[in-house]
């Protein structure tokens, strides 16, 4: 039986992980490769690396990082952040990334989704969507949620599926950072109306939140950052608890 996936997300700046990371058993908690390998050992199902650097060398640094991760890590990983062309994707996949994630560049240039799906296959194209509710309607936001648009979340999600996206990573800006649970109502609507996997992001605070997003939210995977980095929730503990609740997970 296909299991629900638990995905730690690592923010990368200039080749190093950022945001306070509290991994006491690591020699260098800023080293993305070491952190990734530690998560893989703990039972993470996949990893997402989100590059937030703003330097001109970002492409080269990111490609080098992907190669190092692919060398050491024996589970799949997705790379996102600032990817805007077929060439960008080609280099990252050649260096060993399993999937890439695009966000603002897909909104600005929706045809990029078709091009990537045609050239590399839908299975490696993740479209990340950041959205929040404006007057009760879910609206897509760009640039890490800072720039609002008038685009409806559900219409955009249907369009990215139709254009060839293999997965949607949906982050609710209303829930992100609250530790109050995922946006299960919107997630469930996405999951039921679309025929591609949905990754839930934003709002993880405790184990029950993960259970809820898989049951009520009907998510196929759940992504979180700080609860894992600060060891508030251990991956193994989380998966054991989900399994005890009857949710299929890989242990």
């Amino acid at each position: 039986m296909l299991t629900k996936r638990i995905i730690p997300c690592l923010d990368i700046k200039n080749g190093r992980t950022v945001k306070g990371i509290n991994f006491v058993d690591l020699k260098d908690a800023g080293d993305p490769v070491e952190l990734a390998a530690a998560y893989a050992r703990e039972g993470a199902d996949e990893l997402v690396f989100l590059d937030i650097s703003a330097t001109e060398e970002r492409r080269k640094t990111l490609a080098e990082l992907v190669l190092k991760v692919a060398e050491k890590v024996n589970i799949p990983f997705t790379v996102g952040g600032g990817i805007s062309s077929v060439e960008d994707v080609d280099i990252l996949l050649q260096n060993g990334a399993d999937k890439i994630s695009i966000n603002s560049s897909a909104v600005k240039n929706p045809d990029l989704i078709n091009k990537l799906a045609d050239k590399f296959g839908s299975q490696c194209v993740v479209v990340a969507i950041d959205a929040k509710q404006v007057n009760g309607k879910w609206k897509v936001h760009l640039v890490g949620g800072k720039v609002p648009t008038d685009i409806d979340l559900f219409e955009w999600a249907a369009e990215v599926e139709q254009r060839g996206a293999g997965e949607i990573l949906f982050t609710s800006m209303d829930h992100d950072g609250t530790k109050d649970g995922f946006a299960n109502e919107a997630l469930s609507r996405l999951s039921v109306s679309l025929n591609i996997p949905i990754i839930a992001s934003g709002g993880a605070g405790n184990i029950d939140h993960f259970a809820d997003t898989f049951t009520t939210g009907k998510a196929d995977a759940a992504l979180a950052a700080s609860v894992f980095h600060f060891k508030e929730i251990g991956i193994h503990e989380l998966k054991s608890s989900l399994k005890a609740k009857g949710i299929p997970v890989r242990i």
């Binding site: 299991t3 996936r5 589970i75 296959g121 025929n195």
Partner: protein, 193 residues
């Protein structure tokens, strides 16, 4: 041991090469028919669409070489699907090593299947020491139905072939190079064939 990964421009080859390096083996990437034919073990990877991958094989004349190989060959994901006789993906004629067609998932399940699923009824030295029900990583929209050559099965809507074997030819639908320790043990078993 000379281990060759067929490099025909369709696959996450780097990851497979690294997986073997973690096991202590150096794999050579090659599209040279002589080098492939001379290898002790051959890996036939593949990611992307069946039609364009088959065109690339034909462009390097590998479509005639692969079925004639006599050493152990392991097809991975699309590689395995191309070893079948036909794929619904782009109505593509395959290498006809495995006598079974490739179908698209169409029973209302989400497509592609992405994630960790379990493999059962393991019946081959490829799975020596691998427990029934072990989890492996799958990413695919098309599947191989059960057939005489099935050596492992999985379920996603239909029960389907997670692995195939005919003589020296092996195929796995999943990605052993991304399937943690279970995948590494399967690759070790392949090297020991």
């Amino acid at each position: 041991m000379k281990l060759v990964i067929i490099n025909y421009g369709a696959g996450n080859i780097q990851s497979i090469k690294f997986a073997f390096e973690r096991l202590g083996y150096t794999a050579v990437l090659s599209d040279d028919p002589d080098e492939i034919a001379a290898a002790d073990k051959v890996i036939f990877p593949g990611v992307g669409a069946a039609g364009s991958a088959m065109e690339k094989l034909k462009a390097s004349a590998l479509h005639t070489l692969i079925p004639e190989l006599t050493q152990p060959v392991l097809g991975i994901c699309l590689g395995m699907q191309l070893m079948c006789n036909y794929s619904e993906e782009g109505n593509t004629q395959g290498l006809s090593i495995f006598d079974v067609p490739v179908r698209r998932f169409n029973q209302g399940q989400k497509v592609p299947q992405i994630g960790w699923n379990n493999i059962e009824q393991l019946s081959s030295p490829l799975f020596k020491g691998i427990e029934e029900g072990s989890y492996i990583y799958m990413v695919h929209s098309y599947y191989v139905p059960l057939c005489e050559q099935t050596i492992a099965r999985s379920e996603y809507g239909p029960v389907y072939s997670a692995a195939l074997r005919k003589d020296n030819f092996y195929g796995v639908q999943f990605h052993p190079e991304k399937s943690s320790e279970v995948g590494e043990n399967i690759l070790k078993n392949f090297l020991a064939l």
